[in-house]
């Protein structure tokens, strides 16, 4: 029982971050129809920026920030970076095929990773957390507070994103832009500004995911990329459309990896999410929860 609870907590935490990642690129996908392969490296970048701000002598030798202010500044910086990315890697290509933009985001991912490598080196680093080392005891299982924090923060953020999408003017405009960019523009929707905002928010979510993820292990250059693939898996399970579906997909992935993987061939638990994803694509190419078919990219 205690094992089960511990496995579930790990699974939910990983699932929550996968969902957060997936929501991040779904935001861009919904606004622009682009799948951003740089999302993973944005996560890595978020983790490194947080480390840079909060450790040793801090940024530019200004002194280390406290953890929470450091996190907040990280997320703001990531938001700005996302907007910049939109200007550099997406805006010039608008109107081109989805393929070129996807390959360009791959290039952007390579550039980001190379930049981080030059900046921070390749040795693994560690990000501190306000709840480091603290453990919650539930029915004999030890659950680190970091995992609880991950689950709670992700849940709050995802719900906020859903509310933002469904019930605000911004959300309506975003959905309108996604449905038909030109018509939205004619209706007075500031489409350029919106796609910048979408990229910014998406990068901010990536930064948040990086901050939440980093204290669970070490931070290296491949941290985000691996999680991005998990996020893809979550999105595929969810049918690449609704945020709700993605959350279910993320949780399914986390549970498959840690709960199922906790009991069956434990050494191989890292592959279960992908096996699940491949099976889902094989059996239901439109995803488990999809209402319509994915627009063929």
């Amino acid at each position: 029982m205690s094992n089960f609870i511990a496995f579930s907590a790990s699974g939910l935490a990983v699932g929550a971050i996968a969902a957060l990642t997936a929501v991040g690129f779904l935001l861009i996908y919904k606004a622009t129809g682009v799948v951003n392969f740089a999302q993973g490296d944005l996560i890595t970048l978020g983790a490194y920026i947080a480390i840079w701000l909060t450790q040793k002598e801090g940024a530019f030798g200004l002194g280390a920030l406290g953890l929470v202010p450091g996190y907040v500044v990280t997320i703001v910086i990531m938001f700005l970076i996302g907007m910049g990315l939109e200007r550099v890697a997406y805006a010039p290509l608008r109107g081109r095929s989805i393929h070129v933009i996807v390959i360009t985001t791959l290039g952007a991912a390579l550039v980001l990773r190379a930049f981080i490598g030059l900046w921070q080196g390749t040795t693994p680093q560690f990000l501190d957390s306000p709840v480091r080392g603290e453990v919650l005891k539930v029915a004999g299982a030890n659950i680190s507070y970091q995992r609880v924090l991950v689950i709670v923060v992700s849940a709050v953020v995802v719900i906020a994103t859903i509310l933002l999408f469904q019930f605000t003017q911004f959300g309506r405009q975003l959905r309108a832009t996604a449905a038909d960019r030109d018509t939205a523009r004619l209706c007075g929707v500031p489409v350029n500004w919106l796609s910048m905002l979408a990229f910014g928010l998406s990068a901010a979510l990536a930064g948040l995911a990086g901050i939440l993820l980093a204290p669970l292990g070490s931070v290296d250059l491949t941290l985000g990329f691996n999680f991005m693939i998990l996020g893809f898996a979550a999105a595929v399970l969810g049918g690449f459309g609704s945020i709700g579906g993605v959350v279910v997909g993320g949780v399914a992935i986390g549970l498959v990896q840690y709960v199922f993987g906790g009991y069956v061939l434990r050494d191989y638990n890292a592959i279960y999410p992908f096996v699940l994803m491949i099976l889902v694509i094989a059996v239901r190419p439109q995803g488990l929860f999809a209402r319509g078919a994915l627009r063929r990219l």
Binding site: T222, V236, R296
Partner: protein, 687 residues
């Protein structure tokens, strides 16, 4: 009459090419033998010269183990990227799995030689086993992914990479690894002669590259490549022409992946050790960079791209192959970096720049330079990627299309209209195509709502109806392009609906409302796609039974050339279809249909956008086909065109069949008049 100004320039533009072909003698096609462009040129000679150059270079240009090792790395990349060229460049499959298939090959071969499978522990056995296992894994994967969209396929290959690498890390019984590294992998030996240093291993890579390049030439000079391109560009159209698109997609993926397995196996044996990380996503992305940088529409692209990828960073690092490099350091973030440290930054940026500025890659730039130097007007270089990216100016097509498009005023068809009516008795044979209760739904809309229709032997059945009445959708349903319910029998044989290509097997061929020709194939290749003779078209005969396969294909060219000649396009046989005018593309589609040797032809608005002379020609072609015993279902808007040709006419309205019968009777039917002109309010109220 407002049409008058637009048609003369257009006809002067097209007539010289199209019109005078009417009186061509049949031998003409024989005299001028049209060939697919892949059959031109001397690819074998160029490959030979290239290999000779590489060998000489290695003999005299390379000094030291370090440089030889670098050349070997280059050849390794060449081999796996050529495989990727087949997967992505030729057949358009967005895959990140190439690196990981190299890993499968490497570890399988290491395992097979370690445990001495079949009691043999030779390198050769290991390589063969590796290639077979890699191919099997790829085949299973591709089969599972057969319904995935491009993008899902890409994500799935990423997932597959994670799975394979994780299994290799964890399954130490298989990998034989201690820690991360599998060491002690058997060195290569050939007939007892150990190839254990880079100088000697070079020859193994040399042989592997020669083999792999030879395969690409074989494929280009066989139906395989054109069918893969057709599958890549418009898979549904290819399927309705009879191309086995699933086979094409899976076999190309398997072949490309097996080549990666071959490369991986040799790599493992040449190094003597392997780690999963050397095949991780970095290599996967690198493979992408190499192919796109080199140029993804040429078999030389991988070689050029790999050379760039291997040698340029080394040069930035301070010299390569005796060429002194730029050797200075840059201070970034407080650390000294040599230029080579910016490799990934460099390639990432280059990927973006290549995408934006020259999607045809270095090979494409080379072609441009060559045509500049030779002062030869070179055809605009376009790759399927540059089209995808909307980089290719489409002004030709647009201009011609604009001149032709809005021919709403129907030109009079002064063809023997009376004869057409007289022939109405011709279509009195047995039904050859029976569609019963066909239904197609798009969301809540029933585009075709229980239409039943039979085409009789030898007749031309017209299908008319107002816009949106479901005519095209009906054809789409019959040819499996859209999911539909109902039953369909062709010559009494039931056909399952919903799969493109099913009816093609029963000699039912269609054309499209807007001509669906292939921009990246020449006219003759386009026509060849529909061939009825599909024997020896696979990869195996293309590589292993060259002589019979080529001989068979040659017979197909002759047939295709005859079909082109028949519609008067033989002069343009070796031109890319993209350069044809709208009307010519219609004729090309017709030639393609003729080449398919159809028994039943489904024509979707064949006269749309044609001027009166072209329409006249079309009528002649269709009559001649009818005379050859082809039954036709003809969708069109021009009623005089329909009445002059058709034995019977069926009328669709709102997805239902409202009338069938001889044209004269049908067009007097009140329901048909209502369908076209709308119900007369007064008439209804007074009735």
């Amino acid at each position: 009459m407002s049409l008058q100004p637009t048609s003369p320039p257009q006809s002067t533009l097209e007539k010289p090419r199209v019109a005078p072909r009417a009186e061509v003698s049949p031998d003409d096609a024989g005299r001028k033998r049209a060939r697919p462009p892949a059959m031109r040129g001397q690819p074998y000679m160029w490959l030979g010269l290239f290999l000779l150059g590489v060998a000489l270079f290695r003999q005299f240009g390379v000094s030291g183990f370090g440089d030889t090792d670098l050349v070997n790395t280059w050849l390794f990349y060449c081999v796996i990227v050529v495989g990727f060229y087949l997967v992505f460049g030729v057949s358009g499959q967005f895959a990140f799995s190439q690196a990981v298939f190299a890993a499968v090959g490497a570890y399988t071969s290491a395992w097979a030689t370690r445990v001495a499978l079949f009691g043999v522990d030779s390198f050769w056995m290991g390589v063969v086993v590796a290639v077979v296992i890699t191919a099997v894994v790829a085949a299973v994967f591709a089969f599972l992914m057969r319904r995935a969209s491009h993008f899902y396929f890409a994500i799935a290959t990423l997932g597959l990479s994670e799975i394979v690498l994780e299994v290799l890390r964890k399954w130490t019984d298989f990998s034989g690894a201690s820690g991360d590294t599998t060491s002690g992998i058997r060195h290569i030996s050939v007939f007892g002669y150990a190839l254990d240093n880079p100088y000697r291993i070079f020859w193994v890579w040399f042989g592997a590259l020669a083999l792999v390049m030879l395969v690409t030439i074989f494929l280009a000079r066989s139906p395989v490549q054109r069918e893969a391109i057709a599958m890549r560009d418009q898979d549904v159209v290819a399927a309705t022409l009879g191309v086995a698109i699933l086979r094409s997609r899976i076999t190309m993926f398997v072949l490309g992946s097996a080549i990666a397995g071959l490369g991986g196996a040799i790599f493992a044996h040449s190094k003597g050790f392997a780690t999963p990380d050397s095949f991780a996503i970095d290599l996967g992305l690198g493979i992408f960079v190499m192919l796109i940088l080199g140029g993804l529409d040429s078999r030389w692209g991988p070689i050029v791209g790999a050379a760039f990828y291997v040698f340029v960073p080394q040069w930035l690092q301070g010299g390569v192959l005796g060429i002194p490099g730029v050797d200075f350091t840059v201070n970034v973030f407080g650390q000294e970096h040599r230029l080579g440290d910016f490799r990934d930054l460099f390639f990432g940026s280059l990927l973006v720049i290549v995408m934006i500025v020259f999607p045809e890659g270095l090979v494409g730039i080379g072609r441009r330079v060559r045509s500049l130097v030779l002062g030869r007007a070179h055809p605009a270089q376009r790759t399927w990627l540059s089209d995808l990216f909307g980089l290719t100016p489409k002004k030709h097509a647009a201009a011609e299309g604009a001149g032709v498009g809005p021919t709403t005023v129907t030109p009079a068809v002064p063809v023997e209209a009376a004869a057409g009516d007289g022939a109405a008795g011709a279509g009195s044979g047995a039904p050859v195509l029976e569609a019963h209760d066909i239904q197609v739904q798009f969301g809540g809309v029933r585009a075709v709502d229980g239409a039943s229709l039979s085409v009789l032997e030898g007749e031309i059945l017209g299908l008319v109806g107002p816009n949106g009445s479901g005519k095209t959708t009906f054809l789409n349903a019959l040819t499996g392009v859209v999911p539909a319910s109902g039953s369909l029998r062709v010559r009494g044989i039931p056909v399952r609906l919903g799969r493109a290509g099913r009816v093609r097997a029963l000699a039912v061929v269609r054309t499209y409302q807007t001509p669906q020709t292939y921009e990246h194939l020449t006219c003759i290749e386009d026509v060849l796609l529909s061939t009825a003779d599909r024997s020896l078209t696979g990869i195996t005969p293309a590589c292993l039974a060259r002589l019979p396969a080529v001989r068979r294909d040659r017979a197909r060219w002759d047939a295709a050339a005859r079909a082109l000649d028949r519609v008067g396009l033989i002069e343009l046989a070796e031109e890319p279809a993209a350069r044809l005018s709208y009307g010519q593309r219609r004729l090309l589609e017709l030639a393609r249909a003729i080449n398919a040797q159809p028994e039943i032809l489904l024509l979707d608005e064949p006269s749309a956008g044609l001027d009166s002379a072209e329409t006249e020609q079309l009528v002649e072609h269709l009559r001649r086909l009818q005379g050859e015993g082809v039954s036709m279902l003809l969708v069109d808007h021009k009623l005089d065109f329909i009445t002059s040709l058709c034995d019977r006419v069926a009328v669709l309205e709102l997805g239902r069949l409202v009338a069938v019968g001889p044209a004269a009777t049908v067009f007097e039917d009140q329901r048909v008049v209502d369908a076209y002109l709308g119900v007369d309010e007064e008439a209804t109220t007074s009735a």
